[in-house]
Symmetry: C2
DNA sequence: GCCGGGCCTTGACCTAAATCAATCAGGGGC
DNA sequence: GCCCCTGATTGATTTAGGTCAAGGCCCGGC
């Protein structure tokens, strides 16, 4: 594979074997080598905190494997998840040195980090990198707005169905297509984390999961393994436009 | 004023007298003239729709004056506002030709539009424009995440207090600083629009506004004019960190 | 002045989800 | 095997906010 094929941010990352979205260093071995110089890996265990809101954060990173969450907490302890980072997702904001959210590993996690200052320099010098980052940020903004509809207007049942649909759709590595179109995956979140994602309590999450199981919309093996026998039927329950609304 | 001073996206826009954030064409009269060529203005009246979700949208724009909203609607009519555009805010997504949200004027509105294709070309050619756009998008993403906390975890009273604080803080043109630090402004939203912003019903909004009035946190003159005698006291009610949490 | 139509307010009642409180299940350590 | 411990479930009860319904206010047209 030549360096022409190397596109951090969406393809293989230099000499490392994993796919992750980082910055495209397309067709420029100088840029690539600069990226290689400022790149390093960090691993975290389940439950470990990557950064606390308010802490200094002198890197940006993309998720290589595992899952991380962004959460906000109010003084009295109410928590709201505001971001769910799956492999290839990007975290950190060029131009900001203080983390605005708690970043936590909800599974074992490997991140590919770039020291912030040189990364910012790279952006300034490399137009298509800024463009790629813009594109990713716009995608995140769309996801956030979808999420706002969920939080503001959906019922508990719709919220759960939506979350299951999102997870089933989004991370191909979690997804196993079984016989006759059924989907199966391991939930990467505890009931409490699901509740924080959905703006519910963990009890409500648990009850609605049980209800969906009772109604045959999902099957559960243990607490984490979910089987969706009919994905379209589940999608019906999300309250979203049936046409999947592709936007370009 | 020379063209060096002209910075669309955050300063005066070419020959037009209003400040609005468009794209920075700093120090490059060629870029500036290109922008001038693809720029045009559109006016809308209260309640008029700029674009419907799903419609073709072949421009991006920044708000010159007035206020617009982005909303999502479910088939059964439940609505959630997902964006509030005040003067200088940007709308439209390079790389997407179909609108993802309804864009509606909630006051009389003037927008400075740029035809999409040439605008995209401009971005590709002008690094600092892409960077400026990235910065703005990241700000919007932060605002969206703040909003998610509000939708998911705040009480009706906290939601109302937060919205009033946001409006009071955000648009200087609405804000009149009266004697002894009181703030006064006209609400740019109906009770129903506030409800759509906050994930509440209009009745709950009305009741909570009355409650805040009863408690002396706000005064109302007519239905729209709000006076906040003690902004800090109102901020206490938002449930947000008291320290205003500045991040950069 | 009178009427009509948007908005907004207020009241009475209802319900979805929160809260409080037991259990329960499964996996790891010993 | 047995004990813990953490996470999940389930039940009983409460409550914030939604729903339904009845006016009220204000402005603009005639």
């Amino acid at each position: 594979m030549s360096h022409h094929d190397i596109e951090l941010l969406s393809h293989d990352c230099g000499d490392c074997p994993i796919r992750h979205r980082a910055v495209c260093a397309r067709c420029d071995s100088d840029e690539l080598s600069r990226l290689e110089q400022i790149k390093y890996y960090r691993s975290f265990q389940v439950g470990q905190t990557v950064v606390w809101s308010g802490d200094r954060m002198d890197f940006v990173a993309s998720v290589v494997s595992g899952i991380a969450t962004l959460t906000q907490t109010m003084e009295d302890g109410r928590r709201q998840m505001v971001g769910l980072l799956l492999p290839s997702d990007f975290v950190g904001r060029p131009g900001r040195s203080i983390a605005a959210y708690d970043v936590t590993a909800t599974t074992d996690l490997v991140m590919c980090c770039f020291r912030k200052k040189p990364f910012e320099d790279l952006i300034a010098r490399t137009p298509h990198v800024a463009q790629r980052l813009l594109e990713m940020t716009l995608d995140e903004l769309d996801a956030a707005r979808e999420w706002m509809l969920l939080l503001g207007r959906k019922t508990a049942r719709e919220k759960i169905a939506s979350l299951l649909a999102i997870i089933a759709r989004r991370d191909a590595s979690l997804k196993l297509r079984t016989a006759k179109g059924a989907l199966a995956f391991d939930l990467p979140l505890t009931r409490e984390e699901m509740a924080d994602y959905l703006g519910l309590t963990l009890e409500t999450v648990s009850r609605q999961m049980s209800a969906l199981k009772r109604d045959g919309m999902i099957q559960l093996e243990g607490k984490r393994h979910v089987i969706i026998p009919d994905f379209d039927a589940l999608t019906e329950l999300t309250g979203d436009d049936s046409d999947g609304g592709f936007l370009v």
